[in-house]
């Protein structure tokens, strides 16, 4: 009955019990594999709404202000939008030709909801989402740390259906509220939590004691066969006990002490650079102190207004959403490109910091053990295709960087522009075939150590990654 005595690995257990891989977390196994995960594997996804600028090849701005690089897999040349990442060239990979099939016909204004889930949330009517990539990994890695994941956005909360302000969705497809106040995030991570939690914990422990006694007394009145069945219940209670013990342990474990010199906890989005850098710094500190291994960060919300706009206004541009529609104005592509460049710059600053920090409990740099993604779920004009995606780091996880990876069929000549060659193309019928982004997600999950071969209804990994 002692969970530690099961001579099973996760896979044989699943096979033996006749249940599908959809089973939720199996704490028993997670707990026993803790020892070998000494070096943390980390995952971050940063999302920015509204897509990027992709001027046509024929447009004068096409050469400089198209988000995607020019050239081939290794000899790619970054345009002015991403040239700030040139120093990190050997640590990043840029992807094109990827999108979620279920969202391709949905208006880009609703896209933040499904970037990490791939769910067919549709454009109107009843709403149902599915679990997001980060939460699948959090179910796996969440046991090792005080917080299973860190969910942040500039706007905070969950937003509305089809207007998400969080990137993270739980197993039931419900949004996980994002935090947006640096002070609040800092307190959660690095200030001891209150008395209430301790009282709740104590109550739970007494309840579990009663349940175990009650189960034992029932067990004595059952046949051998039925006792076996009931032992599953007892195991579940014991697993919950372990979880409470873990919570107890964290309650009594002092919170890590971190270097707060670079933190400006009262920064607000209108001081965009400071706010941005503070939020990234918090992720950095959370990773460094191994308070969590999973984080998501959403910059603003689709379709603008609110703090998102403040970010772009702060760097002397118009409202962020407005920029994406004003590209045909004089200097329009350049303005949007400049804004995207600035997003990339802050992401690069964060990646550089991870690169400069040696892994506290392992080899290489922190960046080598972290996969940090940066992307959006639409290209130009909110077309829900050809997502602009960068990943940084992950060398120790098996990622080979310094590459521009192009996917899809029919878009070979104009990979950057989602295969579109004329203005009319943006609204016309799409003939280009793209690959499901979920395949990249499966690759990521496997490299993070999650045994999985499917995500969001797509099976298999993305080759060449």
């Amino acid at each position: 009955m002692n969970p530690k005595s099961h001579p099973l690995n996760r896979r044989t257990f699943l096979r033996g019990s006749g249940v599908a891989l959809a089973l939720p977390w199996l704490e028993t196994f997670a707990a026993s594999s803790r020892a070998k995960d000494a070096t943390p594997k980390r995952f971050l996804s940063v999302y920015h709404p509204d897509g990027v600028g992709l001027p046509l090849k024929s447009d004068p701005a096409g050469r400089d202000w198209s988000w995607f690089p020019r050239g081939g897999e290794k000899d790619f040349e970054l345009t002015k939008v991403l040239d700030v990442l040139e120093p990190l060239r050997s640590d990043i990979t840029i992807y094109s030709g990827l999108s979620h099939p279920a969202a391709r016909n949905v208006h880009g204004h609703s896209n933040a909801d499904q970037y990490l889930t791939g769910a067919p949330v549709g454009g109107s009517g009843p709403y149902q989402n599915t679990i997001s990539l980060d939460q699948v990994y959090a179910e796996h890695a969440g046991d090792f740390t005080r917080h299973s994941s860190l969910v942040m956005s500039t706007n905070g909360g969950v937003g509305g259906p089809r207007g998400a302000q969080t990137q993270s969705f739980n197993r039931e497809g419900r949004p996980i509220p994002a935090m947006n106040k640096p002070k609040q995030i800092f307190d959660l991570l690095f200030v001891t939590s209150g008395k209430d939690a301790a009282a709740r914990l104590a109550r739970s422990k007494s309840a579990l004691d009663l349940l175990i006694a009650n189960t034992r007394s029932l067990g004595r009145q059952l046949s051998k066969h039925d006792q076996q069945t009931l032992s599953q219940y007892l195991d579940a209670v014991r697993d919950t006990e372990l979880k409470l013990e873990k919570a107890q342990k964290w309650l009594t474990t002092p919170v890590p002490v971190v270097d707060t010199r670079n933190l400006h906890l009262d920064a607000e989005p209108k001081e965009a650079r400071l706010y941005f850098q503070t939020m990234y710094e918090l992720i950095y500190l959370a990773f460094l102190s191994d308070s969590t291994r999973v984080a998501t960060f959403q910059l603003g919300r689709e379709n603008g207004e609110g703090p998102h706009d403040l970010l772009s206004m702060a760097v002397g541009l118009g409202s962020a959403h407005g920029l994406t529609h004003a590209v045909k104005n004089p200097g329009g592509w350049k303005n949007l490109g400049t804004y995207n460049r600035y997003q990339a710059e802050e992401f690069g600053r964060f990646a550089q910091k991870l690169k400069d920090t040696p892994e506290p409990n392992g080899s290489g740099s922190m960046l080598d053990n972290t996969l940090a993604m940066h992307g959006s779920a639409s290209s130009s004009f909110h077309l829900s295709r050809n997502y602009p995606i960068i990943s940084a780091g992950g060398r120790n996880l098996g990622f080979t960087n310094g590459r521009y990876l192009k996917f899809g069929k029919g878009n070979e000549d104009n990979q950057a522009g989602a295969g579109i060659v004329s203005d009319a193309g943006w609204t016309g019928k799409m003939e280009v075939e793209e690959l499901p982004l979920a395949k990249l997600f499966v690759t990521i999950l496997q490299r993070l150590g999650v045994e999985s071969d499917a995500f969001g209804g797509e099976t298999g990994t993305l080759t060449r990654v």
Binding site: E27, G160, A236, G306
Partner: protein, 915 residues
């Protein structure tokens, strides 16, 4: 001894033919004996029944259960063995081993050997005359020999089943399914709504059932969720403090009319101002244009001066109508504001102004942002019908929505069902809806202090109707609307006083606490509670009490723990001590739980428990009375719902995307349940599932089936003619639709469905690496679906299985991907004729039904008993159960196949009473 595989006596066929000719029946078919005979479905049903092996004087079902029988190997060695050698071993022996069956290696001791399951397959093939194949004359089996083999197998199989009963492998000890748990919580606490479904999804057994004991797992996640839901449910059922102030909106149509008039006047004023400005600007332009050219004043501007005529308003939009004058105004959009001190539940005088809501239209009420987060929203609408045409109906549906920003919107139907509007317009009646605000999708921005994203929430009243058009078209006429939340019938609500009831000991926390716990635990555990058990919970209470302000708050936490105990979550079957084997019978209290989980998908009520506790539940009259009472209770709907869904595999509809009309989709899924209820309620024959001279449909389905004169959304029994090509469950739209590929019929899926769900003879799963049908091959693309299947079947690797599956599905070719009847596919006439593995020809759906009636009634009756029993016991049935099942099938057939009788046979059977 009789031989049930034998064919009908000639005289019987002849007389049936004569009867049929007299009736003027129109079909001709090939009977199993190769004779031509005209047989109507009714006649086939009568004839087939006569053939039942269960109706013979001495059915081969085991007699004298309890006596341990012995294997009769002597007959095998003397007779059966040599016959097998002669007719079977060539294919099923060391040389070929077709179907991986080696008859020479099967142990002839069925009672103790390992091969009883395989012998049962041999028995099935022999008794259905599927083996030896007809096209192998060298191995033909004489009728007498076949009889000897089948008789021996039948006797041995039954004996083996009795023997194995004592070494049972499966148990009915299991946890409640997610839906049972949800219903039980609702029934215990008196909550009208299901709690949000957070439990991890269940695994479906190979039989298709979700309540199978060996698949109902427990995990820490599941356990955690029980704890969370139990506490949440209790907090919802109980209250503390003063009655909360309700937010109440009262929408008076007279006031709305005043608003609309003011708005229009305002608009007119603004338009006039605009027009004046434009005219002035134009005049200035004219004045400036010294060249003499006349600038045109836009005609549009000139028009705005004309007042809009009422008749110009779209009659198809919701409109306010002044009853006396007939004056009409569009309903003005705008935020409604809650009223202070509004009294709810009033019956105001008839309003001089009413709202006319045409068919399909919505009245969209902007409720701003004041609805509370939790609690019940009571919506009262006083409404009537503008016309009373009997063929037309109108009903109201509630939709809740928000539009937080551009493209970020949602809407959701929140009413559990459409409420019919039946009163005449001049005598309107109140219609009430209760909506759980904590469980529906809300606008997350409603509490913002800023105005963007938008905070408003909307309630739409939609008229769902089949009304025709014209001057006197049927509208819903509304004169008064009340919206109030949180709504309580009384304070404290009944859900609260059911737990914290009145008692003279209320002042003494210790005594009263024990009283509360005693009552609650008894209900939750379905048995009397011992004082020591209450003690355990009281000591938990003692630990909790200091952390809470009130007795109730602390007690709710304790009660939540009771809702996570195994005795609540599991269906128990106790033994005296763990070392003894299971007793012969479960206890009367356990029987009560099994009965209520079977018929109500929930725990017993007080009456059932009382009867069980008095030891009367096993008295046949008492048991029958309880079953009758339970089936008449609204909770019995859960039985028809859950059993039918699992039996027929209706959950497959959730992944069907080609039915875009949600009303049709809902009607499709509802039909089999309504049909089952009709058969059950009237104790009709289970053979009606195969074919009946009636259908149970509503208007939407009747349209699809081309059955005339069915009006309204409610399901009802209507007669059907042969020309309708309906009757029974097999051709219902949902079965045809979910067994299609989205564009066309899918005979393979339909065939597999027939074998699995109706015949209880599931085909083996496809082997790995079978060649797929190559749809890029132009030759194959040209073929009809039936031809493609035949082509696939010609492939040796596929033939052995497909020749058994495909014919069943091809017989359904007259039904398209939505289950509509067709006679042509792409200009070619439908070819729905197929030949079964045993060379029986099925001429379309009629042929199939006729064949089932003529030759497979026993098989279907057995399947039905098997399916219902699997569901009733919540465990897979095994070989050991087959003697009992046969006995029950025999009883069912003798009593005339009534579904109501079958339920009675099941609940009084030994199996249902055994652990």
């Amino acid at each position: 001894m009789t031989r049930f595989f034998s064919f009908l006596p000639q005289s019987c066929l002849a007389s049936a033919g004569a009867v049929l000719l007299a009736l003027g029946g129109g079909w001709t078919t090939q009977t199993a004996s190769g004779q031509e005979a005209a047989v109507s479905l009714d006649a086939a049903r009568e004839q087939g029944r006569v053939k039942s092996r269960f109706l013979k004087d001495e059915p081969e079902v085991a007699k004298g259960a309890g006596v341990i029988p012995k294997a009769n190997v002597a007959v095998f060695q003397k007779a059966v063995g040599p016959m097998l050698k002669k007719s079977c071993i060539a294919c099923h022996g060391p040389e070929k081993a077709k179907g991986r069956l080696r008859l020479d290696q099967l142990n002839p001791d069925l009672l103790h050997g390992p091969d009883a399951e395989r012998w049962r397959e041999v028995f099935n093939a022999l008794s259905k005359s599927e083996m030896p194949p007809e096209d192998e004359p060298d191995y033909a089996l004489a009728a007498a020999d076949r009889g000897t083999m089948v008789d021996w197998l039948s006797a041995e199989l039954n004996a083996a089943s009795v023997v194995r009963r004592s070494s049972q492998e499966h148990s009915s000890f299991r946890r409640l399914t997610n839906y049972e748990y949800n219903y039980a919580l609702q029934d215990i606490l008196g909550l009208p709504f299901p709690l949000a479904d957070k439990l991890p999804p269940e695994t479906t057994s190979p039989d298709g059932f979700n309540n199978s004991s060996d698949l109902l797992q427990m995990s820490a996640m599941q356990f955690d969720t029980y704890r969370e839901l139990g506490l949440k449910a209790l907090k919802r059922a109980t209250v503390s403090g003063e009655r909360p102030q309700a937010v109440t909106y009262i929408i008076s149509m007279q006031e709305e009319m005043a608003k609309a008039v003011a708005k229009e006047a305002d608009k007119k004023a603004r338009d006039a101002e605009k027009a004046a400005k434009a005219a002035k600007a134009a005049a200035e332009k004219v004045a400036k244009a010294a060249t003499g050219k006349v600038a045109k004043v836009p005609a549009k501007d000139a028009k705005t001066d004309e007042p809009k005529k009422n008749t110009q308003r779209s009659k198809n939009m919701p409109q306010l109508v002044q009853r006396k004058t007939g004056e009409r105004m569009d309903f003005a959009e705008g935020e409604e504001q809650p009223r202070a001190e509004a009294a709810v539940g009033q019956t105001p005088a008839p309003s001089p102004v009413v709202l006319e809501l045409p068919r399909g239209r919505e009245l969209k009420l902007d409720l701003d942002r004041f609805l509370p987060d939790e609690g019940t929203m009571r919506v009262r609408i006083r409404a009537g019908r503008s016309s009373m045409k009997p063929d037309e109906y109108a009903s109201l549906r509630l939709i809740f929505s928000a539009h937080t920003s551009n493209n970020a919107n949602f809407s959701q139907v929140v009413s559990a069902r459409d409420m019919p509007v039946t009163a005449p317009a001049d005598k309107p009646e109140f219609i009430e809806f209760d909506i759980p605000l904590g469980d529906i999708q809300r606008n997350p921005f409603r509490q913002l202090t800023t105005t963007f994203p938008r905070r408003n929430e909307f309630l739409h009243l939609q008229n769902v109707s089949n009304a025709g058009g014209g001057e006197d078209a049927l509208h819903v006429v509304i004169d008064h609307i009340e919206i109030s939340a949180p709504f309580y019938e009384q304070w404290p609500p009944q859900t609260h006083t059911a737990i914290f009831f009145a008692s003279k000991n209320k002042g003494d926390e210790q005594t009263y606490g024990r009283e509360v716990l005693n009552r609650f635990l008894k209900r939750v555990w379905r048995r009397p509670v011992k004082a020591a058990e209450v003690d355990q919970f009281m000591s938990l209470y003692a630990k909790y009490r200091p952390g809470f302000a009130t007795f109730e708050e602390a007690m709710v936490e304790v009660l939540a723990t009771a809702l996570s105990t195994p005795e609540f979550l599991y269906l128990t079957q106790r033994v005296a001590d763990a070392k003894t084997k299971s007793p012969k019978q479960i206890s009367a209290l356990e029987l009560a739980s099994r009965l209520s989980v079977f018929l109500w998908s929930s725990i017993p009520d007080d009456e059932l428990l009382k009867v069980a506790q008095q030891g009367k539940l096993r008295e046949p009259e008492v048991l029958n009375a309880q079953v009758k009472r339970m089936l008449a209770d609204p909770r019995a709907r859960r039985f028809s719902q859950n059993f039918v869904e699992q039996w027929l595999g209706l959950d497959r509809m959730s992944s069907v995307t080609h039915v875009t009309d949600s009303t049709l989709k809902a009607a499709m899924v509802e039909e089999p349940r309504a049909f089952f209820e009709e058969v059950l309620g009237q104790n009709r024959s289970i053979m009606d599932f195969i074919h009946s001279d009636y259908a149970v449909v509503n208007e939407r389905l009747a349209n699809l089936y081309r059955i005339p004169k069915v009006f309204g959304p409610q399901f009802r029994k209507v007669p059907v003619t042969p020309q309708t090509n309906r009757g029974g469950l097999l051709t219902s739209a949902v079965i045809m639709t979910m067994n299609s590929d989205g564009k066309d019929s899918h005979p393979l899926k339909r065939g597999v469905w027939m074998m699995k769900r109706i015949l209880d003879d599931p085909p083996p799963p496809p082997p790995p690496n079978v060649p797929q049908v190559d749809l890029t091959n132009p030759e194959i693309l040209k073929m009809t679906v039936k031809e493609r299947i035949a082509d696939h079947r010609n492939n040796a690797a596929c033939n052995s299985c497909h020749s058994k599956i495909d014919p069943w599905g091809i017989a359904f070719e007259n039904y398209d991907a939505l289950g509509a009847f067709r006679t042509q596919i792409k200009d070619k006439p439908v070819d729905a004729t197929s030949e079964l593995f045993n060379h029986q020809t099925l001429a379309g759906i009629d042929g199939l039904k006729r064949y089932l009636f003529a030759d497979r009634q026993d098989q279907f009756a057995q399947a039905m008993v098997h399916k219902l029993m699997t569901y009733a016991l919540g465990r897979p049935l095994s070989f050991a159960d087959s003697a009992d099942l046969d006995r029950m099938t025999a009883q069912l057939r003798r009593e005339g196949d009534g579904l109501g009788d079958l339920i009675r046979i099941i609940v009084s059977s030994d199996l249902f009473n055994s652990p």
